[in-house]
Amino acid sequence: MSLTTLVQQLANGLSLGGVYALEAVGFGLIFNILKFSNFSHSAVVAICAYFGYFLSTRLIHNFIITLIITTLFGGLVGVVIEKLVFRPIRLKTASTTLFLVNSVTTAMLVQQFFSASLGSNYYAYPEFMKQTAFRIGSITLSKTYLIMLATSAIVLLLLSLLLKRTKVGIAIRASSTDIRTPSLMGINIDLVISSAFFFAGILGGITGYLIGMTYSVDPFIGKVVLKGIIAAIIGGMGSLGGGVIAGLLLGVAEALLIAEVGAASTPIVIYSAIILLLLVRPEGIAGKRYLVKA
């Protein structure tokens, strides 16, 4: 691999990793509070990818405005999913397995709904910019990828501020440590969970928009979330920072592997590496050990 391609793949990998980091954090937010793997995050991503597509092609052509509307819409979708799918079983104090079943089912529902109603067609977002790439020396950088990286960075910064400084953020962090005690301290736990789903949905909305804009939209777009979940696991559940680092690493590793061994063998290498890593450190890079309690 020459130096030029190396730098180019690094840049691409970092931007892709930024999106994985977004997914990992969106996934981790819910995991920290409710302690289950929220596969329905992929449903939010898919819905927002389609929403962003129809919004930007049919109604408004401005990039920033459509991104913001899609993002807010994503938050809404997250809250609706929580209300319809998870709240009923949470109020019955069901086991975590039911949460898992419902989240997988929601992912399945959305994927099959889109492939049934819109078919397996590909929808491409409109071109927002005249020039799609620019060059520094002999290196060509894609503008879409740079926008992806910048957006992810800004969003992650804002989110960390929000979690550290605001009242809601502190309540979310308190509930992550222990879900019962905050409710004794007068915190409305239902509201905290709803807002966690709202923020996770916002991250899902941005992910859907960015992924849809970079590639194209099809019913199986939700599958990208699995990369984010993998990043969250490698990074260690419960550690959002670990998830961000793992997401970036995963993106870079994937870009380099695709350049080196080809797109077909990349999943084999990545998944075997993950199985090996979990064998050595089951709690991930930065995570704490969790015991499965009833």
Binding site: T96, L98, V101, V104, T105, T106, Q112, A264, P267, A294
Partner: protein, 284 residues
């Protein structure tokens, strides 16, 4: 008539897969999104043995079962120590890996084109016979100490460990049995459908197996079989609304988990004694 036989064949085939998952998901509470990988392993082992190495048909089935069980053991060894959710994800990765590997080994497996020209060697009698045998094994395991250990692990892993159950070993046993049965189903698939390709059983199909178990009822083997029969027969009859039936299934699942968390059939189990007494012989 031929159409109805075909429908019944396909339904029985998938019911075998659902049964293979019952022991793992229903009793032990392990979720695997990688059962598709074992279907593929079974199908490809049988097909490759038959077409490339000219192994006689009766021998291909045991070979597929042994290979499947061995792969299950290999995958289970590192992953069953993990949290349940991680196990789910790693098995998903294993499914993707298997698919990629089959695409890669195109000289042996035909790659994306799949393998055609497998003769139809399996008919309805063998399929129904297999269901009866597997059902007999599973039902007996459920009522034995083995099954009760599984249920204990499902309900509370820590407490089960405290009571002297070797949780890790029990999980490995269950996973190996499960993957052996799934591979057997895969091998049958190859000789029923006569064509196999790497995409024949993706994560969605694996997820459906889990979901059907939950709709039928974790504690009710009868309920699981009825649900699976109804779902897959329905699917074969209404091919024209193919994708919508999955949307429908998803709705049914959500409604079931919300309003009847123990599944549609709850604890109900069909048994001779129960029929004569006209009372539900509920057992946990």
């Amino acid at each position: 008539m031929a159409f109805y036989i075909k429908v019944l064949e396909i339904t029985s085939l998938y019911t075998i897969m659902v049964l293979s998952v019952y022991l793992m998901t229903g009793l032990t509470g392990l979720f695997s999104l990688g059962q598709g990988a074992f279907v593929l392993i079974g199908a490809y082992t049988a097909a490759v043995a038959y077409l490339r190495f000219h192994v006689p048909f009766p021998l291909t089935l045991p070979i597929a079962v042994i290979v499947g069980a061995f792969m299950g053991f290999l995958i289970g060894l590192p992953t069953l120590r993990l949290r349940r959710d991680f196990f789910l994800l790693v098995t998903f990765g294993f499914g993707e890996m298997t698919r990629a590997a089959l695409l890669h080994l195109s000289q042996l497996t035909g790659g994306a084109l799949g393998m055609a020209g497998i003769p139809k060697r399996v008919g309805l009698p063998l399929l129904l016979g297999s269901i009866v045998v597997i059902l007999f094994i599973t039902a007996n395991l459920k009522r034995s100490r083995f099954g009760r250990d599984c249920i204990a692990i499902r309900n509370d892993e820590m407490a089960a460990g405290m009571m002297g159950i070797n949780v890790y070993r029990q999980k490995i046993k269950v996973f190996v049995i499960s993957s052996a049965i799934t591979s057997y189903g895969g091998a049958l698939y190859a000789f029923v459908v006569m064509f196999i390709e790497p995409n024949l059983f993706d994560w969605l199909e694996s997820a459906k197996l889990i979901v059907i178990t939950f709709v039928g009822g974790l504690n009710s083997l009868t309920g699981v079989i009825i649900t699976s029969m109804v779902y897959y027969t329905f699917g074969e009859f209404f091919r024209f609304i193919d994708v919508w039936r999955d949307v429908l299934l998803a709705f049914v699942v959500l409604l079931t988990t919300i309003f009847r968390p123990n599944g549609i059939f709850g604890d109900w189990e069909l048994s001779l004694r129960g029929l004569f007494r006209r009372k539900h012989a509920a057992e946990r």
